[in-house]
C-alpha cells in the first residue's frame, strides 16, 4: 500500500512551522542538554571510578584532602612553571588512574571558554608591557568612556604570560577537581564530602544529592511530555510568553513536589525513630582504612607540596 498523496505534499505553511520549530524551542533543547549532560556525567563517573587505577584504590577522604591542598597550593603559585608542575601532576595522576582521555574530553569546554577569556589579556589593551608582536596601528589613540585604545595594538610579553598563567591555572584546578569525581563513585564521594561538613549539614547534603537526581528525572519527563503533546510552539509573537509560562508552571510544580517529598521524608524519618535534628554519623577514618596506595599518595603529595612551597618556584 503506497503513501497517500495528501501525506506526501507539504504546504507552504507547514514548511514554515518546521523551519521555525528549532529556534522557538531552543530553551527546551538547552534545558534537555543540561539534564542529559548531568545524568551522563554521573553515569560516566560511576564507570570510570570502577576502573582499577591508582586514585580509584585510595580512600576518598584522604583523596579529597590531598586534592584540596593541591588546589590551594596551586593558587599560591606565581610563575607559569609552578602552575605547569600542578597541571603535569594532575595529568600524571589521570594517566595512572586510566582516565586521562576522559579527563581531557571533560576539560574541553572549559579549555575553549578559558582560552576565549584569557586571549584578550595578551593584548596591550588589557595588560601593558614590552611589545612582542605588533597587530595594528591607528593614527592616534581612541578613548571610549573609561577604556583607552592605544595607537599601537600589540601582544605584550607580560600580557601573554598573564593569559597563559590564567589558562594553565584554570586547567590545572579543573583537572584536579575532575580527577576527584572521575575516580570516586558518586555515592562514596558525597559520603566522603559529608564527613567534612558540620552537624545537620551532613544529612542535608546527602539527602539533597539523592533528590537532585529524582527532580532532574522529573525535568526530563516534563520536556518529553511537552514534546510528545506538542508538534511545536505556535508561530506567534507570543511564543516566548508561552514558553515562559510553561517553564514557570514546571518550576512551580517541582517546588510543590519538593515540599510534598520533604513532608513524606519527614514522616518516614519519624516512623523510623529519627529525631528532627538527627545527624548522619560519619565513620571515623581508621588505620585499617589506609591502604598502600593511600600511603604512597600521602608521601607523594607531602613531597610535592613541600617542594612547591619552599623552592624558588614560589
Amino acid at each position: 500500500m503506497g503513501i497517500p498523496d495528501w501525506l506526501k505534499t507539504v504546504t507552504r505553511d507547514e514548511l514554515q512551522v518546521v523551519n521555525i520549530k528549532k529556534p522557538r524551542e531552543r530553551f527546551l533543547d538547552k534545558t534537555l542538554r543540561h539534564v542529559v549532560s548531568f545524568v551522563e556525567d554521573t553515569m560516566f563517573n560511576e564507570r570510570t571510578s570502577s576502573i582499577k587505577g591508582f586514585l580509584q584504590g585510595t580512600e576518598p577522604r584522604i583523596k579529597i584532602v590531598i586534592i584540596f591542598l593541591f588546589i590551594i597550593v596551586l593558587s599560591f603559585q606565581k610563575t607559569v612553571s609552578g602552575i605547569v608542575v600542578f597541571l603535569s601532576l594532575a595529568l600524571l595522576l589521570a594517566l595512572l588512574s586510566g582516565v586521562l582521555i576522559t579527563l581531557l574530553k571533560r576539560l574541553m569546554p572549559a579549555m575553549v571558554f578559558t582560552m576565549l577569556i584569557a586571549l584578550p589579556a595578551a593584548l596591550n589593551l588589557i595588560v601593558d608591557g614590552e611589545p612582542m608582536v605588533m597587530l595594528h596601528e591607528f593614527e592616534k589613540p581612541h578613548t571610549f568612556y573609561q577604556i583607552t585604545i592605544p595607537a599601537h595594538i600589540s601582544v605584550t610579553k607580560q600580557g601573554a604570560l598573564s593569559a597563559l598563567a590564567l589558562f594553565l591555572r584554570v586547567m590545572a584546578s579543573a583537572s584536579l577537581v575532575f580527577l576527584l569525581t572521575l575516580t570516586t563513585p558518586p555515592n562514596r564521594f558525597i559520603k566522603a564530602v559529608s564527613s567534612f561538613v558540620p552537624g545537620a549539614f551532613k544529612s542535608i547534603v546527602s539527602i539533597s544529592y539523592r533528590y537532585i537526581f529524582f527532580l532532574t528525572r522529573k525535568v526530563e519527563e516534563f520536556i518529553m511530555g511537552f514534546r510528545a503533546r506538542n508538534i511545536s510552539l505556535p508561530a506567534t509573537r507570543h511564543s516566548s510568553l508561552i514558553g515562559q509560562r510553561w517553564t514557570a508552571s514546571r518550576m512551580g510544580l517541582l517546588f510543590s513536589m519538593s515540599i510534598r517529598l520533604s513532608a513524606e521524608l519527614e514522616r518516614a524519618m519519624e516512623a523510623r525513630g529519627y529525631d528532627y535534628n538527627f545527624e548522619v554519623q560519619s565513620e571515623r577514618l581508621k588505620v585499617s582504612d589506609i591502604s598502600g596506595p593511600d600511603i604512597l599518595l600521602i608521601i607523594f603529595s607531602i613531597t610535592i607540596i613541600g617542594v612547591m612551597l619552599w623552592t624558588p618556584l614560589m
Binding site: 531552543r26 530553551f27 548531568f38 556525567d41 584540596f68 588546589i71 590551594i72 593558587s75 606565581k78 589579556a121 588589557i126 595588560v127 608591557g129 577604556i147 610579553k157 607580560q158 604570560l161 598563567a165 590564567l166 591555572r169 584554570v170 590545572a172 584546578s173 579543573a174 577537581v177 558518586p186 564521594f189 552537624g199 545537620a200 549539614f201 544529612s203 542535608i204 547534603v205 539527602i207 539533597s208 544529592y209 533528590y211 537532585i212 527532580l215 532532574t216 514558553g243 515562559q244 517553564t247 514557570a248 508552571s249 514546571r250 518550576m251 512551580g252 510544580l253 517541582l254 519538593s258 515540599i259 520533604s262 513532608a263 521524608l265 519527614e266 524519618m269 528532627y276 535534628n277 538527627f278
Partner: protein
C-alpha cells in the same frame, strides 16, 4: 556567574571564605529557630530544587534564552535564612561534583549568589510588600490587594529578583576586577584575573541588566503566579 578556580587570588577568596562561614553559622541558627520541625528534609529538598531550577532555560523575546538562580524565589518560598543554606548547598554540590564554580571560589560564589543575592532580593520584596500594606492603610482582609501574593507582592518579587541577581553579578565583577590591583608579579603582570574593573563591570553587568536580570524577574513572578493559583498554601514569605 560561577567564578571558577584560578580567577581569584588567595587574599580575595580567603576573605570571602572568612566572610561566608559566620553567615552559614548564623543562618543555621536562624533556621533552627524558624523551622522547628522537619528542617532537614525541607532544607535538603529546597537545595535540590534550587540546583535543578538552575538547569531550566527560559525563553526571552527575540530568541535569547537564559537561566535563573532562583535566589529570591526560594527566599520568598521558604524564608531568607533557609534559602541561604539551600542555595549554598546547591552551589557547593555544583562546584564539587560538576566543576561549576571553583573549590577555592566556593566562599565567593556562596557570598555573592547565596547570601547577598538572596538577602537583597528578599529585602526589596519585603520592603515593597510592606510599603504597599502601610500605604493602603494597614493590614487588610484576605482576597484584597494585600493578601499573600497580591500584585504589589509580585511587583516586589520581580524587582527584588532583578536587583538581587544584579547585585550578585556586580559583586562578582568587583571581585574579579580588583585582582590586577591586589596581585601582580615583579614585572607588573596580573597573576590571576587580568581584567580591570573598567572591563569586568560593563562586561558582566550589561548581560545581567539586559538578559539574566529579566530572566530572573520573569521566573520569580511567573512561578509565584503559578503557585498562587495552584498551591497557595505553600507560600510562607
Amino acid at each position: 556567574m560561577h567564578i571558577p578556580d584560578g580567577y581569584l587570588g588567595p587574599i580575595t577568596y580567603g576573605s570571602l571564605w572568612a566572610a561566608v562561614i559566620p553567615i552559614w553559622i548564623y543562618a543555621s541558627k536562624k533556621v533552627k529557630e524558624i523551622l522547628k520541625a522537619s528542617q532537614v528534609p525541607l532544607l535538603a529538598l529546597s537545595a535540590a530544587f534550587s540546583f535543578v531550577i538552575m538547569m531550566f532555560n527560559v525563553p526571552l523575546p527575540g530568541g535569547t534564552t537564559g537561566h535563573a538562580t532562583g535566589a529570591t524565589l526560594i527566599a520568598i518560598l521558604i524564608g531568607p535564612w533557609p534559602a541561604v543554606i539551600a542555595l549554598s548547598i546547591a552551589l557547593i554540590v555544583q562546584a564539587l561534583i560538576f566543576g561549576d564554580g571553583g573549590i577555592t571560589a566556593i566562599g565567593a560564589n556562596c557570598f555573592n549568589m547565596g547570601f547577598a543575592g538572596v538577602l537583597v532580593g528578599y529585602g526589596i520584596y519585603k520592603l515593597i510588600s510592606n510599603f504597599s500594606r502601610y500605604s493602603s492603610g494597614q493590614i487588610s482582609n484576605a482576597g484584597t490587594r494585600n493578601s499573600p501574593l497580591s500584585t504589589c507582592h509580585l511587583i516586589g518579587a520581580g524587582i527584588g529578583a532583578y536587583a538581587g541577581i544584579n547585585l550578585a553579578a556586580f559583586l562578582t565583577a568587583v571581585e574579579l576586577g580588583i585582582q590586577p590591583l591586589l596581585h601582580t608579579g615583579a614585572d607588573g603582570r596580573p597573576l590571576y584575573s587580568p581584567f580591570p574593573l573598567s572591563i569586568t563591570i560593563p562586561a558582566i553587568m550589561l548581560e545581567h541588566i539586559f538578559i539574566f536580570g529579566i530572566v530572573e524577574a520573569v521566573v520569580t513572578v511567573t512561578v509565584l503566579l503559578y503557585i498562587k493559583k495552584s498551591h497557595p498554601e505553600l507560600i510562607r514569605g
